[in-house]
């Protein structure tokens, strides 16, 4: 087992491509995306209105070595600032196979 950081990012669906690109640039080994996560936050309810497509969030999980964390955080912070969203970092063990 290898200690890693679990980074969870929740942003507007439309921002997700940018976030994924930034993760790639940061050189993460991979990520997992769960589309249409609905939710609520400072910018109100995000009901995932299917008709207009507005108001839908996406959830991404990436596990990476702790030294990458700061780089990732700094690169996505502007997006969170401008478009809102959430980023959580926690500890985990990666099962090396």
């Amino acid at each position: 087992m290898m200690p890693v950081k679990r980074i969870e990012i929740i942003v507007d669906e439309l921002e997700m491509p940018k976030v994924l690109k930034l993760l790639d640039d940061a050189g993460v080994s991979g990520y997992t995306v769960i589309k249409d996560a609905t939710g609520k936050g400072d910018r109100g309810l995000r009901g995932g209105d299917d008709l207009t497509g507005v108001f839908a969030n996406s959830y991404v999980l990436t596990a990476c070595p702790s030294e990458k964390v700061d780089l990732i955080i700094e690169s996505i912070r502007p997006i969170l600032k401008q478009r809102g969203g959430v980023c959580l970092v926690s500890d985990a063990q990666w099962i090396v196979h």
């Binding site: 507007d12 439309l14 940018k18 249409d36 109100g44 009901g47 995932g48 209105d49 299917d50 008709l51 207009t52 497509g53 507005v54 108001f55 502007p78 997006i79 600032k81 401008q82 478009r83």
Partner: protein
């Protein structure tokens, strides 16, 4: 105005299903059209109306009338967002004013489709090129609104801005692309293609429209709450601007010698507000604008107003003037 039109419109199944959708929310029923069905229904409607228009054009052949109509459409689609913006600026931030201006400068395909079904029910003919007019009117307002926004706001904050992206969102977004594509395919495949597709694109069309408007009713009713945030000014704006646009569009259509059917559709296009193409574009190009202002305005005020009161009103006026 002509009350038979109003009643006739009321008893039109699509409108009745829109009411049923509103009612479902008010009655707290758990009735809902699960995602992604509404999206696919709207793709179907664009697909069908596009083909219908294309076949119509192929049948009608080229006429100067077409050029005139498309020209007028483009002009209106560029003028409306301009004057809307300056009205809105009195009360709103640049970002919100620009986004709402784009919303009202652009058009609502479903309003157009409902209006076309209304004409067919009354067996009033209209030109297939009106579908092209609709497609043409979707994009200019987006470009203009973003221009206004970037000129009148020094803010170049955060993420870089790409004109190419904006251009793409404006002219190649899913709905514009599908309408235009189906239109061209309709022209290319002509009669033969039309016959093979008729059962899918025409026969079941009204039924699908009912289903879709049922969902529109549900969504509109759910968004009504947001109107508190919008306030009196924007609520009134959502009704008065369409009327103002119609008041400009009808005489213009008459001056240009459009047929009654074409004039009616032209008016509905000017009076309608976008809730699909524009919100998507605005979120990317004017993120500072608040979607819970411009979405409910077009969805919960202008759309219902147009299909319930607007359509019979505009048509009554047109009948007066043309006869």
């Amino acid at each position: 105005m002509d009350f038979n039109l109003l009643i006739g419109n009321f008893l039109n199944p699509p409108i009745l299903f829109f009411f049923l959708g509103l009612l479902a929310v008010f009655a707290k029923s758990d009735l809902e059209i699960p995602s992604p069905i509404p999206k696919i229904l709207s793709l179907y409607l664009l697909f069908a109306i596009g083909l219908k228009g294309g076949v119509g054009i192929a049948a009608g052949g080229f006429q100067t009338q077409i050029v005139i109509t498309l020209g007028a459409a483009t002009v209106m689609a560029s003028v409306v967002p301009l004057y809307a913006f300056f009205i809105l600026r009195r009360k709103l931030s640049v970002a919100n004013a620009a986004a709402i201006a784009a919303t009202y400068g652009s058009i609502s395909a479903v309003t157009f489709i409902t209006a076309a079904a209304f004409l067919e029910k009354l067996s009033i003919p209209y030109g297939g090129y009106m579908v092209a007019a609709m497609a043409l009117m979707e994009s200019p307002a987006i470009i203009i609104a973003v221009l206004l926004y970037r000129l009148s706001s020094a803010n170049e904050s955060g993420t870089a801005f790409s004109w190419r992206e904006l251009w793409r969102d404006a002219f190649f977004n899913g709905s514009v692309f599908l309408i235009m594509g189906s239109l061209v395919i309709g022209v290319l495949s002509g009669e033969a293609g039309a016959k093979a597709l008729k059962p899918f694109t025409s026969d079941i069309f009204t039924g699908v429209l009912c289903f879709f408007l049922l969902d529109m009713g549900i969504v509109a009713a759910k968004r009504l709450g947001d109107l508190k945030r919008a306030g009196v000014f924007l609520t009134a704006f959502g009704i008065l601007l369409p009327l103002a646009n119609a008041a400009v569009a009808i005489p213009l259509a008459f001056a240009l010698g459009l047929s009654q059917g074409d004039a009616f559709l032209f008016t509905i296009l000017c009076a309608s507000a976008s809730y699909i193409a524009v919100p998507a574009a605005m979120r990317l190009s004017i993120p500072e604008a608040n979607p819970s202002l411009y979405v409910p305005m077009s969805l919960a005020i202008t759309f219902p107003f147009n299909i319930i009161a607007g359509m019979p009103l505009y048509l009554a006026v047109i009948n007066r003037i043309w006869s």
